[in-house]
């Protein structure tokens, strides 16, 4: 009902010049008609019961049906069964190959590949990275994660490339796919876990498939972008040579899109890796599982020992694929070098095999868990409470909960439901188009219909508080980094590490510092979202036209004035993008915060996974999806939309 507020007609009285005022007036008009109607019928603050649909019955029945029929129904025997089987077989095959190559062989092959595609420095880095994994006593888990990753990334790349090809060649497919891919991009990883568990059960197949679903969209988007962005003149030239459409695709369009394809692959790898860790909740095994197990015994050191190989894998894969993308087309490498490289790698692998040293030697290991735990203990012992003047972190958390989180949550829950929808509509319409506003309002209304209005607003309040903190800190750091090259250089590795570190690793130190509750969830979210916000802000400020700055300077503006009146306004688009990214990332972690007492939707998802109560979990997952969609649309600047098509 109330969703109608946003479907306002597009004919606007011409007298009003300001589009913002026009939009708001129109919205107010629609509200003035609809709200009394809605209020008369369902007068209540929270979402009216009459408008909810209870899905728990049918969902519980579905889940039971699946479990009872999984070993007999043809759908499972002839379709899902084969998918699951193929995943198991391919992961196993890759794993066996990795084990057969031994640690020396794997390290050598990785280093040589890095050398060929990215140069000597990265090759050394790659080798060092792999050896560190072994040194930390994580060789076998690293190989398990790598095997899973290889399969997941290949599958995502193929699926993504095919979808991207379809969207790149056909306008209709593009129109159909783009909103879906856009949406998938903003969904928290946690929301993907339940549906696959429902069908495949806990284990590697479910983990791989969740990873594929999560990691394929960037590949598809960038493939489509690359195909559509191909230089028109080159294409015309090829066409004039009388080539067929298929020849054009293979000889011109795909080669021209190589850069985008590699960028897509790069993003796919990064997303697959982050998902591979979260998927340990559903039995992925490997490094993520070690992190998860270490957390059970509150062993931050051990969690870090498993977390470091993940970060190393991420950095190595990221740098190598990025370097490969940059080097494309600059030189043609002779296949002879490749042959040498291959021969050397095989020789090392065989040597390792003959020496009987396939497994990482146990004596060569470094125990970092103890020193790390001592450091964490010291930190929590001295910072938790009773610090003179500023107070301990526990007090901060308490104040933050009482003075910020509680009022925001209570305020949101106190607002009548239709006014929440109105606020969403107004914000989305002011920043975006009537289109984004409509989606945002529909998503918010769907949350109400699902019957999880109150917990969703609780989650929303945490997101808002975390975003506010993130933006204040992120903009401040970003501005500082944009003004000082040295600071930016010092900051870069820190940002890299925090962006790739699995969120699980810092959940426990956060609890040790802030106690159990919503405050640690917010803190973890801030830590996670900060790097992206800092990065985008810095980039945006640095891209401001130097001529504009120069002229401001020549007019005698102080550096504060330059910043306020020239840089910030000119970087507006980047700043809005930073807000958008910040919101999406914060939501992802606030959900995981369910593991440290964040409650609300995150807790429901964890509960659903833990108790096999898929009805609770799936409804909460769907609400998270809607919340993500709403938050993305509300913060989505109009420019992004028009720019993206290319």
């Amino acid at each position: 009902m109330a969703t109608l507020t946003a479907t306002a007609p597009r004919t606007i009285p011409g007298a009003l010049k300001q589009p913002a005022v026009r939009k708001l007036l129109l919205l107010a008009l629609v509200a003035a008609i609809l709200v009394p109607l809605a209020n008369a019928r369902w007068a209540s603050g929270a979402w009216p019961d009459a408008l909810t649909v209870d899905l728990s019955e049918p969902l519980a029945r579905t889940s039971d049906w699946i479990i009872d029929n999984r070993d007999s129904h043809p759908l499972f025997l002839y379709f899902f069964g084969h998918i699951s089987n193929a995943v198991v077989l391919s992961v196993r095959a890759v794993y066996l190959v990795l084990l057969a190559a031994g640690w020396a062989g794997v390290t050598a092959i990785a280093a040589l590949v890095a050398w060929r595609v990215a140069g000597v420095r990265l090759a050394l880095g790659t080798a060092a990275g792999f050896l560190t994994c072994g040194l930390l006593g994580m060789w076998i888990p690293t190989m398990q994660t790598l095997a899973l990753m290889v399969v997941a990334v290949l599958a995502s790349a193929v699926v993504g490339a095919l979808l991207g090809l379809a969207a790149g060649l056909s306008d209709r497919m593009d129109r159909a796919l783009r909103p879906v891919l856009d949406t998938m991009q903003v969904l928290p990883a946690f929301a993907y876990l339940l549906p696959v568990v429902l069908v495949f059960g806990i284990g590697v197949p479910a983990a791989v498939l969740a990873t594929v679903v999560y990691a394929a969209p960037p590949m598809a988007r960038l493939t489509a972008l690359g195909l559509r962005g191909a230089d028109k003149e080159v294409l015309e030239a090829v066409e004039s040579l009388g080539s067929t459409a298929r020849q054009r695709l293979l000889t011109a369009r795909i080669p021209l899109a190589r850069k985008e394809l590699l960028l897509g692959l790069n993003q796919t790898i990064m997303m697959a890796l982050s998902m591979a860790v979260i998927a340990s909740v559903i039995g992925a095994g490997g490094l993520g599982d070690r992190v998860y197990q270490a957390l059970a015994s509150v062993d931050v050191g051990a969690a870090l020992a498993a977390g470091i190989p993940i970060v190393l894998l991420a950095v190595v894969l990221d740098r190598v694929t990025a370097a490969a993308g940059e080097r494309l087309g600059t030189e043609r490498k002779s296949p002879v070098h490749w042959a040498y490289a291959l021969a050397a790698a095989v020789a090392i692998a065989v040597a390792g095999r003959l020496a009987g040293r396939l497994d990482w030697p146990e004596a060569w290991s470094l125990n970092i868990a103890d020193p790390v735990n001592r450091a964490v203990d010291w930190m929590t012992a001295h910072l938790y409470s009773g610090v003179p003047v500023v107070g301990g972190t526990a007090e901060w958390a308490g104040h933050f909960t009482t003075w910020v989180l509680d009022p925001v949550r209570d305020g949101l829950q106190w607002l009548p439901w239709w006014s929440v929808l109105l606020i969403v509509a107004a914000l989305a319409w002011l920043i975006g188009t009537w289109h984004t506003a409509l989606t945002a309002v529909l998503a918010m209304a769907a949350i109400g219909v699902l019957g999880v209005w109150q917990p969703s607003l609780d989650t929303l309040s945490q997101v808002l508080a975390a975003v506010a903190v993130t933006l204040v800190l992120g903009f401040a750091t970003g501005i500082a980094a944009a003004r000082s090259d040295r600071f930016e250089r010092a900051l870069r590795p820190v940002l890299d590490v925090f962006q790739t570190m699995p969120q699980f690793v810092y959940l426990i130190p956060v609890v040790a510092l802030f106690g159990v509750g919503r405050a640690p969830a917010v803190a973890a979210a801030v830590v996670y979202a900060l790097p992206a916000v800092v990065r985008i802000t810095t980039q945006g400020l640095r891209q401001v036209d130097p001529a504009a700055l120069e002229s401001a300077r020549s007019l005698g503006a102080t550096s504060a004035q330059q910043l306020r009146q020239v840089q910030l306004p000119l970087a507006r688009r980047s700043l809005l993008l930073a807000v958008n990214q910040g919101v999406v990332l914060v939501l992802a972690v606030v959900i995981i915060g369910g593991l440290v007492g964040g409650g609300a939707l995150g807790y429901d998802v964890v509960f659903g996974l833990a108790q096999g109560d898929l009805a609770t979990g799936l409804v909460a997952g769907a609400a998270i999806v809607c919340l993500g969609l709403m938050l993305d649309r509300v913060t989505q600047p109009t420019e992004r939309r028009t720019k993206k098509g290319a």
Partner: protein, 318 residues
């Protein structure tokens, strides 16, 4: 071009050959990491609490060093673990706290899981206050007096009421119903994971603050933070049948082992060892404490225990 098509065809047909063209029963697919390189592998499920890690660590140590198996462990929550066990993705659960629904479904109806006997440890869930607080206020250990202390148990998270801290969502709990039905002035706050709960309890204990928490024994934390149980209305058979109306304490449960049916039949010595595995609460606590508090790796802790309790485990190998 020709080359690419042929490779694609070859790869496709290889995949078809591998997967077989007939039915594929995904409930019979083992973990891809199992039995690698011809090693005999056993996959054990580890639940998130440390007692379960201790069971698994000792079983793993014996399987690897006495019987020459390779052991994989997977962390799975309690209920999904039943499903994984039924599918053979894990071979054994060594500590189950009682899931009648699951037992009926998999042991009774589908017969994919068989009972593995007693673990030898009795589990009990309850509400606990720290002993330092119980000594100052002895009457807090009666549930009727809990409301008197609600003020002192307040936190930012529980607002105007006292805080009753619950742990991981995977644990069996009636606490929300109990608080309602016993008319207590408390708010259940879910820590979301046991790790978070333990961290919070230790922080409270360091400051000697009062707190009320859902907890269970055997648990190593009692050695570090002594806690006293609050007496709830006595448990009677069936008093927890309706989850909405529960108003009684939690039962004492003899913890059980369960094995995958195939594994129990064809698992050879490994299955026999796991069936015979039986130890005491003290044994389990000893290992748990080494893992969780002295931060030994589970393997080192298991080795220490195995070295000093030969007579106990020799009996399991027969």
């Amino acid at each position: 071009m020709r080359l690419r098509t042929t490779t694609a065809v070859a790869a496709g047909s290889a995949l078809l050959l591998l997967t077989g063209c007939g039915a594929a029963d995904m409930t019979k697919q083992a973990s891809p990491f199992a039995n690698a390189q011809g090693a005999k592998t056993v996959t054990l499920s580890i639940q998130s609490w440390v007692g379960a890690q201790a069971n698994t660590a000792v079983a793993q140590y014996l399987l690897e060093h006495e019987l020459g198996y390779r052991v994989d462990t997977v962390q799975v929550d309690e209920v999904p673990a039943w499903d994984a066990l039924s599918q053979g993705r894990v071979d054994a659960i060594l500590e189950d706290w009682g899931h009648p629904d699951q037992e009926q479904r998999y042991v009774g109806d589908k017969k994919t899981i068989v009972r593995g006997g007693d673990l030898g440890v009795t589990g009990h869930i309850g509400w606990y206050v720290p002993t330092y607080f119980a000594k100052q206020h002895p009457d807090v250990t009666e549930w009727k007096n809990l409301n008197k202390y609600a003020d002192q148990m307040r936190t930012a998270e529980s607002g105007a009421k006292g805080q009753l801290m619950d742990g991981s969502p995977s644990y069996i709990t009636n606490d929300k119903a109990l608080v309602d039905n016993l008319d207590l002035d408390y708010q259940v706050v879910f820590a979301g994971s046991e790790a978070a709960q333990i961290t919070q309890i230790r922080q409270f204990a360091k400051e000697q603050k009062p707190f009320l928490t859902y907890w269970y024994s055997p648990q190593w934390l009692f050695e570090k933070v002594p806690m006293t149980e609050v007496k709830l209305p006595a448990y009677k058979e069936g008093c927890d049948a309706d989850p909405e109306k529960v108003a009684c304490a939690y039962p004492h449960t003899p913890l059980q082992k369960y094995l995958n049916a195939d594994f129990a039949e064809n698992g050879g010595k490994a299955a026999a060892l796991l069936k015979n595995f039986k130890w005491t609460t003290e044994d389990q606590n000893e290992v748990s404490l080494m893992i969780a508090d002295q931060k030994l790796t589970p393997e080192e802790a298991a080795k220490k225990w195995v070295d000093s309790h030969e007579s106990t485990w020799k009996a399991w190998l027969s």
